[in-house]
């Protein structure tokens, strides 16, 4: 692959994912409306698509205010971290054979590392705002994300055992016969739940919990800094959906009548829809329920899954 081709792939991935993240503004509002028997935004442009443009323009022209009581530099740093860490995570996803920004040997570890760095945006944003609600949101977010990182990592180890590699291209190729969702159903469920908690989406949005903490860690943010948190959240949804499709649903694999990239994005959008459906249907758990659910149910489940997977893998080899 020449350098020029590589640059094109990087720019293409960046363009596609930023556009998906922006487009999700429309997709989410439209889908939520449909599930609540409404129509949703349908005025501006065809099918209301220009609402994305209007929202972005609005965010750009809002006053970018830094509260005088805030810790200025940390306050500015926090929204940048979330977007940067998620975009770094996207770099390792293989979209089709050969179309990947960084085909790392330790791709899965890199993904986990980047998602664990994302927690800083919440913690620092909440702390730098110097606001009680933000601080509470940051504390909740930090403990939630650290806890669910554990299950996220452990739920993926079954996949690693079966494919014998951390490289995502190898993992997709190992699913040629059977998708890992069949052999690793518990891993899939736990990964998806942990992904929800990791992107702090509803129903696990307790760091922002609008009804309790008035937007939690980003209470004090406005303008494009808030927009960065917003885009970061949508990028996180796209990342987790793309990873679910790659790890458990065979990534680009699919019948030959559609090109691989189309299969990949079809699967990704299915999971984005699932994210929004979860938001539309489930209520937010209490904080201790969330933690109890994680440590008392998911952790034993995922360890058992690991044990059984390892045993079967050994048994099949001998």
């Amino acid at each position: 692959m020449t350098v020029m081709q590589h640059i094109w792939i990087v720019l293409g991935v960046l363009f596609v994912f930023l556009n998906i993240a922006a487009g999700l503004i429309w997709v989410e509002r439209r889908l939520l409306a449909l599930w609540q028997d409404r129509l949703g935004p349908n005025r501006a442009g065809p099918l209301g698509l220009f609402i994305v443009l209007a929202d972005t323009l609005k965010l750009f022209f809002k006053e970018d205010w830094i509260p005088p009581f805030a810790d200025k530099w940390v306050f500015i740093l926090a929204p940048a971290i979330v977007v940067a860490s998620v975009l770094m995570g996207i770099a390792i996803i293989p979209f089709a054979p050969g179309i990947v920004v960084a085909d790392l040997n330790v791709g899965l570890m890199f993904f986990l590392a980047m998602s664990s760095l994302g927690v800083y945006s919440i913690v620092l944003g909440g702390w730098a705002s110097n606001n009680k609600y933000s601080l509470l949101g940051a504390l909740r977010g930090a403990s939630q994300m650290i806890a669910y990182e554990v299950f996220m990592g452990l739920s993926l180890m079954g996949v690693v055992m079966l494919s014998k590699s951390f490289n995502l291209t190898d993992i997709v190729n190992a699913q040629k016969g059977l998708w890992f969702v069949v052999t690793q159903p518990i891993g899939f469920v736990v990964f998806f739940i942990a992904g929800l908690a990791e992107t702090h989406r509803l129903p696990f949005d307790i760091p922002e919990a609008e009804s309790e903490l008035i937007a939690g860690f980003h209470s004090e943010y406005s303008g494009m800094k808030f927009g960065m948190f917003f885009i970061g959240e949508y990028l996180g949804i796209s990342l987790i959906s793309a990873m679910t499709a790659t790890l458990f649903f065979g990534g680009w694999l699919g019948p030959a009548f559609l090109p691989p990239v189309v299969w990949f994005f079809l699967k990704t959008f299915l999971f984005i829809g699932l994210f929004i459906l979860l938001r539309a249907s489930l209520p937010r758990p209490r904080y201790d329920q969330l933690m109890g659910y994680g440590w008392k149910l998911l952790l034993p489940l995922v360890l058992l899954n690991l044990l059984v997977t390892g045993a079967i893998a050994l048994w099949l080899r001998s």
């Binding site: 810790d71 940390v74 740093l77 790392l104 040997n105 330790v106 570890m109 890199f110 986990l112 590392a113 664990s116 760095l117 927690v119 800083y120 913690v123 620092l124 909440g126 702390w127 601080l135 940051a138 504390l139 930090a142 403990s143 994300m145 650290i146 990182e149 990592g153 951390f166």
Partner: protein, 177 residues
Amino acid sequence: MSLVFYISSFIAILSTIMVITRYQPIHALLYLVVSFLALAVTFLSLGAPFAAALQVIVYAGAIVVLFIFVVMMLNLGKQTAQQEKEWLQLRAWLGPSILSLVLLAEMAVLLLQDAPEAMPATVVTPKQVSLSLYGEYIIAVELVGFLLMTGIVGAAHIGKHKKKSLHRFLQTYPNLN
């Protein structure tokens, strides 16, 4: 590759110095994160991607977050920064820094005596790491497991509720909890 190594090690040293000299605890911890990230890049340049990823996941992603968590809970304000400022006086850091400078000089002399070897560039794969962990060093791994288990038991003991009493809202329906 050695240029990457030197740049990242320089960043690691610089950020560690910043960790010591910052008055505001959160800023110090942020520099600690940078230091750990620089260390991860150093590992990567030495051909240990697995160790680099673990460095980021475990140290930068979990442990420093817990540090920040605790600092946030302690609610350290301006007085703490003032206190730190008073501690960081010349007579406080002069002794330790002279001693470490002596050590640095010794290390430099030792390093410069031999002919500088080329940087080892063999890549350590995750497979090799796990084989050596569960092969040669299995005893160490199990001992660490024991240690962590005692830690968990201790934490569970400390965190256990002394009194088994429900909140008054939950008393009517005990199975709600």
